[in-house]
Structure formats: C-alpha cells, structure tokens
C-alpha cells in the first residue's frame, strides 16, 4: 500500500512550527488573529526585528507561537513592557498581545496612558467578552445580560455598567497620527488589513497603534459552532461596531 504524503497546511513563515499545533481550544478565534499577524509579519519583512509580548490569560498561549523574539509579562503589564522595549530600541517592532481583561481592566491605566503619550507600539487586544483562561468570568466587555461565572444571572448594567468600548475611548485620547480600529475574526481580509495598518503605522514611526479584534470562546460561552458564530456576528458585532476609527492612511474603512 502506497504511503500517503502528510498534508502540511500553509503556514506563515514567521510561525514557529515546533509549537504547532497550537494550544488554543477548538473554535477559539486566537488562531485566526495570529494567522493574520503572521502573514503581515511575513509580507512586511519584519520577522527578525519583531518583539512579540504576550499578556497573561489565553493570549499567553501564544508565547512561543512565532519564530520571533518574544517575552511573557504579567496580567495587564504587556503594554509597559512593550513601551520599555520600544523606547530603548526604536528600531524594533513591538507587538503587545492581550485580552480584554488584560487591556481594559487590570492594565487599563497602562493602555490609556500609552495611548495619551502616543507610544509607538502596536497593541492587539482580543475581545471574547470574558476571562477565558481563568474559567469564564465577567470581563469589562461582557454584554448586558450575558451569563458568565461571575455574572451567573446575566450581566446587570445597573450593577456593573456597560461593556467597555475600547477603540472608541482610545480614539478620543490619541492624536491623528495614531491608528485605532476594531476588527473581527469573521472578516479575515479586513482583520488582516487592519493589523497590517497597525504594524505599518509603527514602522513609519507615526504613533500609537491599536486593534481590538472580536473573537470567539465556545469553551466558556458553552456554545456549539453555529451558536458561537451567531453570538459573534449577531450579538457582539452590533454592540461593538467594526471599522477603522482613526487612521493616518486615509479615510476610515467601515
């Protein structure tokens, strides 16, 4: 019997293959975001000078995802670590990777002030409306009525406020040289373009670059494939509008 040739899926050159297959749950959106990032690193030719920093939470599972130099940090502290590196070595391309808990809650003071200072770093924040790694607690981005482990009867905005709209507030804090966008894993080409713009903005030395990416978490949402996609497209995307909020590269893309 003839041996079948194993099938090697196409992967970005900047992926670190010994760490594949990756460790994210089935149905998780992180892999899509990291594919878009990897393809952009390849196409921009920045693999050797990219520093990938990952936060604590599910994003830390990406710590050895790329064949780029990388560092782990603490929960919420990726932003200042990237700022420290970028200010010390401006020739490096620093990419901070975090979740909505790390960026909007425990690290919000860093995100806000880095944006105000227009730090020349690129931050990618994956919004899956909950704390995935710690077991599905309420996040700043949990939707009204959404059930999580710490909002078991549904998030009550009277008690805990409304979901954080990160790109909207960051757009208010930054000058025109910043890049601010929200993408979704359901629109891959747009996601890839936004991440590319966020990298390009740093490469050109313009200013702060931030992309929030709406993503999926079927494990903690306790959803099947169809329910997962429905929650992303029909619940999250209407609340968190996708598009470029601020771009030095011309008119915003909705």
């Amino acid at each position: 019997m003839a041996m079948l040739e194993p099938v090697h899926p196409l992967t970005p050159k900047s992926w670190y293959l010994p760490s594949k297959p990756h460790k994210f749950c089935p149905g998780c959106g992180h892999g899509i975001v990291l594919k878009a990032l990897g393809e952009n690193i390849d196409e921009l030719g920045i693999q050797d000078k990219t520093i990938f920093g990952c936060d604590i939470g599910c994003s830390l599972l990406a710590w050895n995802f790329f064949a780029c130099d990388s560092t782990q940090t603490h929960h919420g502290r990726t932003t200042p670590v990237m700022v420290g590196i970028k200010r010390s070595r401006p020739e490096l391309i620093t990419v901070g990777y975090m979740g909505d808990g790390g960026g909007y809650s425990i690290g919000s003071q860093h995100l806000l002030n880095a944006a105000v200072r227009n730090e020349k770093v690129t931050l990618i924040l994956v919004n899956n409306t909950n704390y995935g790694m710690t077991g599905g607690q309420m996040a700043p981005t949990t939707l009204p009525g959404q059930k999580t482990e710490t909002s078991p009867y549904g998030r009550d905005p009277e008690q805990t406020g409304y979901p954080t709209k990160g790109p909207e507030f960051i757009a208010q804090l930054t000058p025109d040289s910043a890049y601010v966008a929200r993408a979704t894993v359901s629109k891959y080409n747009q996601l890839k373009r936004f991440i590319r713009n966020a990298l390009r903005n740093q490469i050109e030395g313009n200013g702060f670059s931030f992309v929030e990416v709406l993503s999926t978490c079927p494990t903690n949402w306790r959803t099947n494939a169809q329910q997962t996609w429905r929650f992303l497209e029909d619940e999250m995307e209407p609340y968190f509008p996708v598009g470029e909020l601020k771009s030095p590269f011309g008119k915003g893309d909705k």
Binding site: L60, F66, S70, G84
Partner: protein, 350 residues
C-alpha cells in the same frame, strides 16, 4: 550635595542609559536631577503612569539590552513588587533605588527603615535579590555604580536601599568616573531583539515566566536558588568594629549604623566593651560573618537597633539561627536613632 543628587550622578557615571520613574517622596530629586542631566548626556527618561508601569518599563528596557533603572519609596515600593517579581523570575538585571519612608500605608514622607522586609523578601518569590543598605552619600555613589555591575554580572534584581534622611541631607563626597578608579563597567547586552536572521543564523528567543507544570517551575526555582546560593559568599559585605573583645555587639544597618559607630566610640572611651556589626548586604545576609563575630568575642548580648519594629531583628534571628546569645532590641519605627539612644539602651543592658 543631597543623597538624591548623588544617586543621579552615580547612575550617570555608571553608564545608565534610561530611567523610568514615578513621583513619590522622598526619592523625587533623583528624577529631578536625572531629567536635567539626561538630554546633555544622551540618556533617556520617562515619567510613567504609576510605579507598576515604571517597574515593567525597566523590565522591558533591560530585556532589550539597556542599562535601565528606577527609584521609589513606600507605597511605590509596594506597587513595584510585581515587576520586581518578574525580574526575579526572568533573571532581569534591574536596578532600583529605594529611599525608605515611614509606613505602614502612606505613613510619612520623611524617613524609616521599614522597607527592609519588602525590599529583601517582597513579592511572590523567594527573595532572590541583592540588597545593599547604604549609610553615607559616598556609599550611595559607590554602591549604585557597583550595583549596576552586580545586576548585569549576576542578573538578579539589585537594590540600593537608602532612606529619606540619606535622600535629603547634604554631605560631601567624592564623585569619580569608574574607570579612574579601575572599575570596569559591565556592558549590557540584549536578551531579545538579538542580531541575525531567525531560522538562518539563530533560533528565535522566547522568554518565559509561566510554566504549565509544577515540576517545570520547581526545576527553575531550584536552579535559581542554587545559583543565588553559589554567588552569595562573593556578594556579602559587612563592617565590624571593636568586636574582638566585645561583651555587647550592636547590630544595625544603613544610616543607623553611623549612630552605632558613634556610640561604640563613646562607650569605649568610658571603658565599656562594646562593638558593632553592620550588614551592608541585607540580601544575601552576612550570616557567617556575624556568627564569627559572636563566637570570637564571646559576646554576652546583641543589641538590634533599627528605625523599624523588628524587620532587621527578624532577618538577623533567622540568619543566625542556632546562636544562643541573648538579643535585646531598640525599635524606633519611622524615627531617627542617634548615638545617645543607643548608649542609653546599652547602659540599661549592663
């Protein structure tokens, strides 16, 4: 000049490339002097949003190969324990100058020796840190220069533990370039952002501080512990005076050791057999050296004197475990101790 000005000059002379800081009294003037000098000497500075950020930006900066430092005090030192923990776990050559203020809480902005426990064993780790407790402005200058070399040689977070009195008072000292004294400064080097093409010239560098399995972390901590213990004998520093025949040995550190030194002079003039021992490194602690002092003198008592309520005392007790010499204490948390205080206490012990 003041101790804070001294600290800024020392960092400059040591070749520090960038400071990340956040205002808190009594360390502010380190930033004030640094920000005045930095542009003239092509050095960097960032005032961060808080001490957490100051510590983590230093972590990032040293990872990228720059000689970076910070300075803080009191509640700021509390906030910086998180990045200090990262520096311990990832073996980052971070240098922090701590100018102790009164505690707990916001305490006072003035002075104390109440950040000994925090600086030596703060964080969720094992105290794998190197802590120099200075007593004079000359030492602030000397040990900051030495501290950068210690940090970059051994890659353990390194602390210069001063206090509000040392920060604010004025004292003469000699400023110098390290090379004029034959001190070779250790060149910093990057841990990430390395040269060469990944996949051709080298593998990517993935720095790690979180582990999936207990056994993985165990291996890491045991390795760090073994390395720390191996270098400890060459790092420990101390001073002793008049201990050979001392019936009472005063143990103190930092600025209080100056009062102890004066007290020994005065008491010896009165014919009393008193000596003093001062750990310069609080981590690693010169335990064997203190034990030797106790044994060779046959001291009948130790007096632990500190501007805290037992932080040095606890450190000494654990470090000289097994010694049976009785210990008395002079605890004056958050206030200064002068020779008279120590002499009065000694006389009450006779």
């Amino acid at each position: 000049m003041t101790g804070n000005e001294t600290a800024a000059w020392a960092a400059l002379a040591a070749g520090a490339e960038v400071m990340f800081g956040y205002p808190i009294t009594p360390q502010n003037e380190i930033m004030h002097y640094w920000t005045r000098m930095a542009p003239k000497y092509d050095r960097g500075f960032l005032q961060t949003e808080d001490e957490i950020s100051a510590g983590f930006t230093v972590c990032g900066s040293v990872q990228s190969g720059k000689k970076a430092f910070t300075a803080t005090a009191g509640p700021g030192n509390v906030l910086m324990q998180e990045p200090f923990g990262m520096a311990e776990g990832m073996r980052l050559p971070l240098l922090a100058i701590i100018q102790q203020r009164g505690g707990p809480s916001s305490g006072t902005v003035v002075y104390s020796q109440q950040e000994v426990t925090l600086t030596t064993f703060g964080g969720n780790g094992e105290g794998h840190r190197i802590v120099y407790s200075t007593a004079t402005h000359q030492e602030i200058y000397d040990y900051i220069i030495k501290g950068f070399n210690t940090a970059w040689t051994y890659r353990f977070p390194t602390f210069i533990l001063g206090d509000g009195y040392q920060a604010k008072m004025r004292e003469p000292l000699e400023l110098y370039s390290p090379e004029d004294k034959g001190i070779k400064m250790v060149e910093p080097y990057p841990l990430i952002g390395l040269p060469g093409h990944i996949g051709e010239d080298r593998e990517p560098k993935h720095l790690c501080n979180i582990y999936s399995l207990e056994e993985e972390l165990y291996e890491v901590v045991m390795k760090i512990s073994a390395e720390y213990e191996a270098i400890s004998p060459e790092l420990t520093e101390y001073q002793e005076r008049e201990c050979d025949d001392a019936e009472i040995i005063i143990v103190s550190h930092g600025v209080v050791s100056r009062a102890a030194d004066d007290a020994v002079t005065a008491l010896r003039a009165q014919g009393l057999k008193v000596g003093c021992f001062r750990p310069i490194t609080l981590r690693p602690f010169p335990a064997q050296e203190l034990k030797n002092c106790i044994q060779k003198s046959g001291a009948k008592k130790l007096l632990i004197a500190e501007s805290a309520y037992g932080q040095l005392f606890r450190l000494v007790r654990q470090e000289i475990y097994g010694e049976t010499v009785p210990m008395e204490t002079l605890f004056m948390p958050g206030v200064g101790i002068i020779d008279y205080d120590i002499m009065s206490k000694i006389k009450s012990m006779l």
